[in-house]
């Protein structure tokens, strides 16, 4: 009897642990949300600023605008190589400046969507090496996003968890 109770309580702890781990998952921001947050004079909404300093996940295409060790790159809604035939640029700022801790070791594919997690910053910032930016992810980690969907302008963004 005692043994059965121990097994039951162990299962309960494991289930609770899984639930807690799930609830710890970082919120995902979409490019649609980022573009929607833009106001006049390079200002961004308070709602998007509320994520400042928090770890978030953004999915997009890698544009290697910095050195090829990917210590810095742009994350964009649109691929650097594809989509010439079917999608026009919106003219809005659809890029996030990504700073990785030690550079990223990955098999770079310009047509692949990557999942980037890092500390989010919104608002104008000028960096001598990379110029003016609106959205940034610092201490970022990159991995491939399998089956990811990039939110286009006009799509209904999923509410961040």
């Amino acid at each position: 009897m005692l043994q059965r109770m121990s097994v039951f309580s162990l299962c309960l702890w494991l289930a609770m642990g899984t639930l807690l781990a799930y609830s710890d998952e970082v919120p995902r921001l979409t490019f649609a949300q980022l573009v929607d947050s833009l106001k006049a004079n390079l200002e961004v909404t308070q709602k998007i600023k509320s994520y400042n300093g928090k770890e978030v996940e953004i999915q997009g295409f890698i544009i290697p605008a910095g050195p090829p060790d990917l210590s810095f790159f742009l994350l964009s809604r649109v691929s650097a190589i594809g989509n010439y035939c079917c999608e026009l640029s919106t003219g809005q700022d659809e890029t996030v400046y990504v700073y990785t801790a030690k550079g990223a070791q990955l098999f770079y594919d310009p047509l692949r969507v990557y999942k980037v997690r890092g500390l989010f910053e919104a608002g104008v910032h000028t960096d001598p090496a990379h110029g003016v930016s609106l959205f940034r992810l610092r201490q970022a980690h990159v991995e491939e996003a399998v089956g990811a969907k990039i939110m286009k302008i006009g799509d209904t963004p999923a509410a961040p968890r």
């Binding site: 605008a65 050195p67 890029t95 770079y108 310009p110 110029g131 003016v132």
Partner: protein, 396 residues
């Protein structure tokens, strides 16, 4: 006498066999180290030698050709684009700096590059700094008054022996229009060390066809946007244009790195096979040595040596061979890497640092000693189990 001394004396007793075994270990280690240093060095060389500009605009061709030709001078130049492309970029309010580049012939294998003084200008976003070790930079002369003044890359000056003020040319048709060295650059550890720079006016005046052209030709334009977020728009605009293409240098290099990693995967399998062969060779050498010495071991045991002492002596022998082979291998690996780096620098324009010492070196040496101990384990156990009575029986 310590166990180390006994193991050493055993090795010295069969000098040739021990030396050959150590050499085989050394060859394996040098192959592994040289492969590691060169593959890592090629990546590091590309990263160090790349441009600070985010975009290259040129004629329609392969992006790899555009980047390797313009930045590393490892490929033939792409076809020409009109000078108006540069003017258009200069007038574009999204562009912070546009630098025209015209790739030409070569002097003793060192490429000619026609450009403006912007090529050498500093900026907060530039890692690379150009300064002259001797002489001065040339000035941007007007198109109808070419100065024919040239600035030499550090390696050009070193290998051609050209001095400041000296005139030079290659090819009969250039005898009337010789270039004159006015400056020598400090080393930049990039393809620019192997380049001869002069003004666009001189470049156009050197060429009969370009002299007659109303709109002068260029090969590429290096572009730095004011905001990097405009990069995607600029990239797209020049690629949609039927005459031009734009390439992101880092994207091209990352594609090259992808190919390199495939080659590295294959090399890893080959090196794994090499390690296995060396291990087997070490095992066979120690095993046959142990079989030859059974009588000696039995004598040692009869004189009071414990089984464990015999086991440790054989293990120490294998570790000593691995250590000697490992040290020679590390030196040999650097030697091969130096040769490879020299060839890559001469033929590929990549600056490699083959003397870099990292945590890999001690790890490799410890790994070799451990593998040596593993290879010596079975012979050591056999020596441990040697029966005194059986092996001390009269030979006749």
């Amino acid at each position: 006498m310590s166990l180390w001394t006994i193991a050493w004396k055993y090795l010295c007793g069969r000098r040739l066999a021990s030396a050959l075994t150590a050499v085989s270990v050394a060859l394996g280690v040098s192959l592994i180290l040289a492969t590691f240093l060169l593959t890592r060095g090629i990546r590091a060389g590309f990263i160090a030698g790349t441009t600070d500009y985010s975009l290259i605009v040129g004629a329609k061709s392969s992006p790899t050709q555009l980047v390797l030709g313009t930045i590393f001078r490892l490929d033939v130049a792409t076809p020409n684009i009109p000078y108006t492309v540069y003017e258009q970029l200069q007038d574009d309010e999204r562009v912070e700096r546009a630098v025209p580049v015209a790739l030409g012939d070569a002097y003793q294998g060192f490429h000619y590059v026609g450009t403006t003084t912007d090529y050498f200008a500093t900026a907060p976003w530039r890692r690379k700094n150009f300064s002259v070790a001797a002489g001065r930079f040339w000035d941007d002369d007007p198109p109808d008054q070419p100065s024919y003044e040239a600035v030499l890359g550090a390696e050009v000056a070193q290998r051609t022996g050209l001095q400041i003020g000296e005139a030079f040319y290659e090819g009969e048709e250039m005898a009337e229009r010789p270039l004159r060295a006015v400056g020598i650059l400090r080393p930049t550890h990039s393809a620019d060390d192997r380049t001869i720079f002069f003004s666009l006016a001189s470049y156009w005046d050197m060429n009969e066809v370009a002299r007659a052209m109303a709109i002068k030709p260029l090969t590429t334009v290096l572009v730095r946007p004011k905001r990097l977020s405009d990069l995607t728009h600029l990239h797209r605009e020049f690629n949609v244009n039927p005459e031009t293409q734009a390439a992101l240098p880092s994207a091209v290099l990352l594609t090259i790195f992808n190919l390199l990693s495939v080659a590295e995967e294959v090399l890893r399998f080959v090196l794994g096979a090499v390690v296995l062969v060396v291990l087997l060779y070490l095992f066979v050498a120690l095993y046959s040595a142990m079989l030859e010495r059974r009588r000696e071991i039995a004598t040692m045991r009869a004189l009071g040596a414990r089984r464990m002492t015999i086991l440790v002596i054989v293990l120490l022998e294998s570790c000593l061979i691995a250590l000697i082979g490992g040290i020679i291998g590390l030196l040999g690996g650097h030697g091969v890497a130096v040769l490879g780096a020299h060839l890559l620098s001469q033929r590929g324009g990549l600056a490699l640092a083959p003397f870099t010492v990292s945590t890999v070196h001690p790890l490799l040496l410890v790994g070799v000693i451990l593998l040596g101990a593993c290879a010596g384990l079975l012979p050591a156990v056999l020596a441990y189990r040697t029966e005194v009575a059986e092996n001390l029986a009269p030979l006749s």
